[in-house]
């Protein structure tokens, strides 16, 4: 059985095996995956297409597709908030901005879903527009924004839910290589600022090795189907002394 524990702010899976049933065919997407995440850690999961990394992320988000069967011996651990809801937020690969909402209202959606009243949600969103490189585009429709801006807007919407763990499924996968590189740099800076603009704990699924090592503290490599963890690499922190001091100060 899948059990949900609430022991602190740790995220992980134990012996996670997920099978997809489509008609008579059965495909094992994930096989005995073990994974633990400490609070404040940025983990990247890399692997070839179809290795089950998106399935792993959906399992953590509690959003497995109806055709997915989780093995009885698997355990999925997610942090819970005070009201018992999973304290995680998931962002899909497509930006999924709502075409009938202007940029501001799209950003506020995350807070609205989390139960924040409209005025307060818009206030919180507007405070972050500058940080997310969207200042001046508050009243634009999504189709008027560039690809990179749409993705930043989707990320802003996601972070405004106020959840403590961020699950990113190839957030920049649909962007061209140049835009993706600048997005990675921007996201790394945002994370390094430690000012709460980004949840401190992040799981990033990607097939871009550069993206993984630019952003993550630790990289997990998965094999092709059925997905297993084949390697784990700790990325040397390239923080400058100044950044380290700043980070230590803001952690307290």
């Amino acid at each position: 059985m899948t059990t949900f524990r609430t022991d602190g702010r740790v995220l992980g899976v134990e012996r996670l095996t997920v099978t997809f049933r489509t008609g008579r065919r059965e495909v094992t997407a994930l096989q005995d995956v073990d994974l633990t995440l400490a609070a404040g850690e940025f983990l990247a999961v890399v692997g070839p297409s179809g290795c089950g990394k998106s399935t792993l992320l959906r399992a953590l988000a509690g959003l497995l597709l109806a055709s997915a069967v989780v093995d009885r011996s698997s355990t999925i651990t997610v942090p819970r908030d005070a009201s018992g809801r999973p304290d995680v937020v998931w962002m899909p690969q497509q930006n999924c901005l709502l075409p009938w909402r202007r940029a501001m209202a799209n950003a506020a959606l995350g807070a609205r879903v989390a139960g924040v009243p409209r005025a307060e949600a818009v206030h919180r969103a507007s405070e972050m527009f500058e940080r997310f490189g969207l200042a001046g585009f508050e009243r634009s429709w999504p189709h008027e924004l560039s690809g990179g801006m749409r993705q930043r807007l989707a990320l802003l919407r996601t972070t405004l839910t106020g959840r403590s763990v961020l699950l990113l499924d190839e957030p920049f996968g649909a962007l061209d290589a140049i835009t993706r590189r600048s997005m990675n740099q921007w996201l790394a800076d945002l994370r390094r600022s430690h000012d709460g603009a980004l949840p401190s704990t992040v799981v990033l699924v990607t097939h871009d090795v550069d993206e993984a090592v630019t952003l993550a503290d630790r990289v997990i490599v998965m094999s092709s189907r059925p997905g297993r963890i084949v390697d784990e690499i700790v990325v040397a922190t390239e923080q400058s002394p100044r950044e380290r001091v700043l980070a230590a100060l803001s952690v307290e």
Binding site: A61, L63, R85, P86, V89, W90, M91, P92, Q94, C96, L98, P99, W100, R101, R102, L109, G110, R112, V113, A114, W141, H143, R157, T158, T161, R163, L167
Partner: protein, 257 residues
Amino acid sequence: MSSPNGAVTVRRVVSPLALCAALIVAWQVTVRVSHVPIFIVPAPSDVWHAAVRTAPLLGEHIATTLTEAGLGLALGVTVGALLAVVIAAIPAVGDAIYPLVTFSQTIPIIVLAPLLILWAGFGLTPKVILVALTVFFPVLVSAVSAMRSVEADLTDMVAGLGGGRRHQLWFVRLPAALPGALSGLRLAATYTIGAAVVSEYLAGQSGLGVFIQRSRKAYAVDQIFVAILVIAVLTAVLFVIVDTLCRLATPWQRDQR
């Protein structure tokens, strides 16, 4: 203007107008040359004279028909939209109701008119109901199919933010249904005047349908042509109004077209 744009304007606007004028002239000449009696086919000039003659009478008939069409449109849109929301919000209810509603559309609405008159009398009510029934279905169908065809990606996104079915309905399904419901409304608007007129054929003291029936009994075919023209113009005006409202209600689609 000698620019390419000017040439396109000439082709798009001037040529249909010229064709229209040519057809009217041909009609006039044919009727006059062949001496067709005016109570079979009147010439355009006869229709014009009839229009001038009956203009003082027409106002009241137009008012009646427009009232029926307007009230029926409002009622049909309201009921259709509300039912679409119920069908989307409660799938079990939707699964039960929707096939029935679809099947009921095998009954041409107009054949219900005698029943409506029997039940609701000769006044405004049966005609409003008839128009509403005509409008209701296209609005319902386009709203429901728009809500059903919402990309699973969008509802997934809301679930990923921690939202439940209620959030998916409120933030995604209902707003996504709006353009669909509006295109149904645009379609429905073209039916309304015609539906009101046909319902007046069966019973009533006033309205363009009544005017047409009286003209028929008096062999005043020229007056029937006048009524047909008025119905066409009213339908066009109603369509333009509804279309404008639709555009105002979906501003994000304005410069995407």
